[in-house]
Symmetry: C2
C-alpha cells in the first residue's frame, strides 16, 4: 500500500506559499507591535528573507490587499493571513510521549499565544503518568481515545520513541485526529485524509553535513555581500 500524498492538488494556495505565510505573519505581527501602519513588499520581503516579487505573488493568492504606491496595511494583512491559515480559531493539540522533547514542547509558551492550546499529554510510562507538566497532568496513553474525543483534539504531536510512533499515530487517527506532527524518526503511514508533517533533527544535521563536506571539498569560499538565509522544509 502506497501512502498517498496528503494533498496532491490543492486547488488554491501553492504549498510553497503556505509554508511562507507564517513567516510573513510573524514579521507583520512584530511590526504591528512596534506601531508600523503600512509596509511595502520590498521591506517586508527583506525582513522575511525572500524576494519581493515572490512575496507579492504569495500575497496575491490571498487577494488584492495592497495599495499601489503605498504598500500593505499591516493590521489588515495580519488579519488576512491569520484567517487564511486558520488562526482565527483555536486549535487543540495533544502530545504523546512526555520525555525530553515532549516536556520541552509542553513547556514552550510560544504555542498557546498563537492559538494552539495543548489539551492533553500522554505517556505509556507509569512513572511519568500522573506527573504534572506545564500545568497538565500526564495521562496514560490508553486514555487517548477518550480524551481526544472529549477534548476535540485536531492536532496530535508524536514525541515518543520511533518504535512506538506508528502505533500512537494509528490511535490518534482512529480517535479522529486529522493532523499529525511527528518528531520520531520514522515514516508514518496514514490514510489520505490525514496530514502528517515531520520534524527530523537528524535529517537537518545530515543535510548540513552534506553541504559542509562540499565546502571542504572545494576551496576558498566565495566572498560577497551579506544575505538573508531562507530555507524550506
Amino acid at each position: 500500500m502506497t501512502p498517498r500524498s496528503p494533498r496532491p492538488k490543492d486547488r488554491g494556495i501553492p504549498e510553497a506559499t503556505v509554508a511562507r505565510l507564517p513567516v510573513y505573519l510573524r514579521a507583520l505581527q512584530g511590526m504591528a507591535e512596534r506601531g508600523t501602519l503600512t509596509v511595502s513588499s520590498e521591506d517586508l520581503a527583506a525582513i522575511a528573507g525572500v524576494n519581493s516579487a515572490k512575496l507579492r505573488k504569495d500575497l496575491s493568492h490571498l487577494g488584492s490587499y495592497g495599495t499601489r504606491g503605498v504598500g500593505y496595511d499591516v493590521d489588515y494583512l495580519v488579519y488576512q493571513i491569520s484567517r487564511e491559515l486558520g488562526l482565527t480559531q483555536d486549535w487543540t493539540v495533544a502530545i504523546a510521549g512526555v520525555g525530553n522533547l515532549g516536556r520541552a514542547l509542553a513547556n514552550y509558551g510560544g504555542f498557546g499565544t498563537r492559538g494552539f492550546r495543548i489539551a492533553a499529554l500522554f505517556d505509556a510510562d507509569g512513572r511519568v503518568v500522573g506527573d504534572e507538566v506545564a500545568g497538565l497532568v500526564v495521562r496514560h496513553i490508553d486514555t487517548l481515545e477518550d480524551v481526544v474525543g472529549s477534548e476535540d483534539v485536531s492536532i496530535g504531536v508524536i514525541a515518543t520513541p520511533a518504535v512506538s510512533a506508528q502505533g500512537v499515530c494509528d490511535r490518534f487517527v482512529k480517535a479522529g485526529v486529522t493532523s499529525v506532527l511527528n518528531f520520531a524518526p520514522v515514516v508514518l503511514s496514514v490514510p489520505p485524509a490525514v496530514d502528517v508533517r515531520k520534524v527530523d533533527l537528524s535529517i537537518e544535521l545530515q543535510i548540513l553535513a552534506f553541504h559542509e563536506q562540499r565546502k571542504a571539498d572545494g576551496q576558498a569560499p566565495p566572498e560577497a555581500g551579506w544575505i538573508d538565509a531562507t530555507e524550506k522544509t
Copy 2:
C-alpha cells in the same frame, strides 16, 4: 540554497534529493540490522514513503550502484549514501541556549550515534552556566569563540530565545562556524558561505492548521458568495 555559485562544477546533487537521502539511509540501516542483503527500489521506496522512480533517480545521482534484476546491495548503499552525505567523518556540534529545548537536544542520544558529537553547551544565564547537562558542563556564551576554535566546531545549534538568536549566530559565524541549525523563530542573516537551516515548530503547526481548516471548509458550503470587503470593481 546556494544562490549564485560562479563555479558550477555541477557534480551537483539536487537539493530535493539531498533531503531524502537521510530517509533512505535510515531505512537501509534498519534493514541492514535485520540482516537484509538486497532491496529493490520498489520495496525501499515503500518504506521511505516515496515513489520508486523518484528513489531510483535520487540514487542515480550517486552512481550506478544497483544491479538490474536484483536491486541494491544494502550494505553497499548504506556506505555510499553515508559517504555522499559526509557521515563517514564525525562532525562537531555546539548548542547555544540550554533551556527547555537545548536540554532536550543535549540529552538526545540519536545524534552521537550518527556521527554528530556535541562538544559544547553555552548559555548566558549565570544560574545555568556550570550545570552539568548530558555529561557536559554548560559554559558561558562569552567563551564561545575560544571553544569553537579549539574544538573545531563546524555546526552551531541555536536554541536561545528569538531576540538573542541573531547575536549568537553572528558569534558562531565570526568564530568560523559555517553551518547553523536554528530553532529560534527568526530569520537569520549570514554570509553566503554559511548554511542555515531552521526548524520552526510554530510554522509546522500553522501549516497543519491551514490544511485542517481547508478540510473543515470542504464540509460546509464554501464562502457562499462571501466576497472580501476590499474586492475591487
